[in-house]
């Protein structure tokens, strides 16, 4: 299958390894990955910060790159960006009074990575090997906006030699919330402190999620505390085939 990768601007700049992992993984599974170079940002931060006009501009740009009559199947390693496109673009279009954008948004075919693997490709065992103790943090957008459910866990359970440990209070937000982490920094820190406490209680080597923004928040607290727990995007674990 021919798959267009929307890497998300955050990953493009800060976590290019995640984009490389998605590419490696999908190619290993026999699919052709393309990277439309005109892509930048879905507009999530502008939309959730109240900058509706700017969000509409960015949404139009996204639709121009990934939409149209022969709209490709799009895969993204960011659950919150997938949720922005699928759930929020109709709202962005309504706020902007842009019927054209509303129509274009309907034609977009954007999948979050774990959805794409499990629902579209129908695979849970992607042939990965990762001999480490891992806990999974279900990010809010994955859990409650996309409702990906246990798809990421099913993918992780099928990874050879991976020990999956349940995270206590897993469904509670890490406190990131985009601009919230800065505008309400004190509350945000109080929340991530609890998330980190739960992560450490699992004695996992790695905390994994399907959104690098939340992982950057959790990871930022973990490294500040020298907690010795790594953060990894699901794609990076699934791309691993390391041998002993």
């Amino acid at each position: 299958m021919r798959v267009a990768l929307f890497v998300a601007c955050f990953n493009d700049a800060l976590f290019p390894g995640t984009g490389r992992a998605v590419t490696r993984l999908l190619e290993r599974l026999g699919h052709q990955v393309v990277f439309p170079a005109g892509q930048s940002c879905c507009g999530q931060v502008h939309w959730t910060s109240g900058y509706q006009r700017e969000a509409a501009d960015l949404a139009r740009g996204f639709a121009a790159v990934f939409g149209g009559d022969d709209a490709p199947v799009v895969v993204t390693p960011s659950a919150s960006c997938a949720a922005t496109v699928r759930r929020d673009y109709p709202r962005i279009a309504r706020a902007a009074g842009d019927a054209g954008l509303a129509r274009d948004a309907e034609g977009l075919r954007v999948h979050e990575l774990s959805e794409f693997l499990v629902d579209v490709l129908g695979v849970t065992d992607v042939g990965a090997r990762f001999p480490h103790r891992v806990t999974y943090h279900p990010t809010c957008h994955a859990l409650r906006a996309l409702e990906v459910g246990d798809r990421p866990r099913r993918l992780l359970r099928a990874v050879r030699d991976l020990e999956l440990v349940e995270l206590p209070e897993a469904g509670e937000c890490c406190g990131f919330g985009g601009a919230f982490a800065m505008k309400n920094a004190d509350v945000s820190v109080a929340m991530v402190a609890d998330k980190v406490r739960h992560v450490r209680a699992t004695a996992a080597d790695v905390v994994c999620a399907v959104d690098n923004s939340c992982l950057a928040h959790i990871g930022g607290a973990l490294t500040r505390l020298r907690a010795g727990v790594r953060t990894m995007h699901l794609a990076e674990i699934l791309a691993e085939t390391e041998t002993v």
Partner: protein, 419 residues
């Protein structure tokens, strides 16, 4: 009778009030325990009903239909209350409501049961037990008003409001205009939804132990004189907003409050006097406007995690309304003679991101700068002049961008050039 103290200095913004609340470890621990208990009771009570989803859908539909026909329903209600011997008063705002209530109960001992709508208009509760014997008049809130018969419905754990019904003097009930329910049949669904969502202890988490209903006034039974004060206080303005209107579906169960990770850590005070938690963050800015810094900060007092929407028994998409109101706050500031620094930054970022060349140049430059600030692979401290970003590094490291962004790697792949 005196209204509760109106603050003389402006209420602080949410982040500032929250910082104070976070500094008190004892009350944080206590809050955390009690919130977790309510949350667990709610989850258990809801899990008992296999048709909870249908009940929620029915409740949402009744509330939505009510709001769309509110004018007609309120006329029905007024007519029914008057026919049953009650008197109806309309209050445009909190001050008028207080004036009406004060005029009705006069001097002397008054019992006031606690209710959100009474706190909203600045009337606080009177401790009941020792005041009751001497009291003449009573003031209470209402949970639902049945339009077809003019019946008032009060659902309680303790019966403090019910005690008001036994007083010799006038009974004054205050209710928001949205608290109307068309028919008794419609009411039934809320008798299930409200107590289970509220997560009260024991049986109270299934059915309200004290359900009081009365219609107007009748000699020898219930209040000798009954007044209903219908409060607008920003509600008709809210009704006119297609997205924000859904906030008025609220039936006051506080399920959203008890699942909110922000509320769990800061408590109710930072949300101001109208309502606490996520519902307060969408109601207060709509009822009182976003003119004050405190009210304008409320839509931002959330990570948009969505836990609230998941439990709301009447399907209010609280995160959607929060984002909608953030837009309203930003719009209200767009036309200032000098743009806010945030507006200038957000515009610049959007401008940069909307063009490939500008985006790629910014990626290169940003990467260079961020790598200059890095120590040991992380950005550990940013200068305060960087404003909001500096607040991030107070307690968390920032990731350092690798030297080459993803698109540079892609371009170097065989056949990976521009497409």
């Amino acid at each position: 009778m005196t209204p509760s103290a109106t603050p003389s200095s402006p209420r602080p913004r949410f982040a500032d009030a929250a910082r104070e609340a976070l500094a008190d470890p004892a009350s944080r621990g206590e809050l955390r325990g009690s919130v977790a208990a309510v949350r667990a009771r709610r989850a258990a009570a809801v899990a008992e009903l296999p048709d909870w989803g249908e009940l929620r859908a029915a409740g949402s539909a009744v509330r939505e239909r009510t709001l769309l026909n509110l004018d007609a329903l309120l006329e029905d209600l007024e007519r029914a209350v008057i026919e049953a011997g009650g008197i109806v008063h309309w209050a445009a705002d909190a001050a008028e409501a207080r004036r009406i209530v004060r005029g009705l109960v006069g001097a002397g001992e008054v019992v006031r049961a606690d209710a959100p709508v009474l706190r909203e208009i600045g009337l606080t509760a009177t401790p009941l037990p020792d005041r009751l014997p001497a009291a003449r008049a009573g003031v209470c809130g209402i949970d639902f008003m049945v339009a077809e018969t003019g019946t008032m419905v009060l659902l309680e754990e303790t019966g403090a409001g019910r005690a008001c019904l036994a007083l010799p003097g006038p009974l004054v009930a205050v209710a928001g205009i949205e608290q109307v329910v068309p028919t008794w049949r419609d009411l039934e669904v809320f008798l299930h939804l409200l107590p289970r969502s509220a997560g009260g202890p024991g049986g109270a988490g299934r059915f309200s132990p004290a359900v009081s209903t009365w219609t107007g006034s009748a000699p020898g039974d219930g209040p000798g004189e009954f007044h209903l004060v219908l409060l607008d206080n920003g509600r008709t303005g809210t009704l006119a907003d297609e997205v924000g209107r859904a906030a008025l579906r609220c039936i006051g169960c506080a399920a959203c409050v008890h699942v909110c990770p922000v509320y769990e850590r800061v408590g109710g005070a930072p949300y101001g006097p109208v309502r606490a938690g996520p519902i307060g963050a969408i109601l207060t800015p709509q009822l009182r406007g976003v003119g004050s810094a405190a009210n304008a900060s409320l839509p931002f007092a959330s990570t948009l995690c969505g836990a609230c929407a998941e439990v709301c028994p009447v399907g209010i998409d609280i995160p959607e309304i929060l984002v909608h109101l953030r837009g309203r706050v930003v719009e209200s500031r767009r036309h200032r003679p000098v743009p806010t620094p945030e507006l200038a930054m957000m515009r610049t970022v959007a401008w940069t991101l909307s063009d490939r060349r500008r985006y790629e140049t910014a990626l290169r430059r940003g990467t260079r700068w961020a790598r200059l600030l890095a120590r040991g692979g992380r950005v550990r401290r940013l200068p305060g002049v960087l404003g909001l970003l500096g607040r991030w590094t107070d307690a968390r490291d920032l990731p350092v961008p690798p030297p080459r962004p993803f698109r540079a790697w892609w371009a170097d792949r065989p056949g990976g050039g521009a497409r």
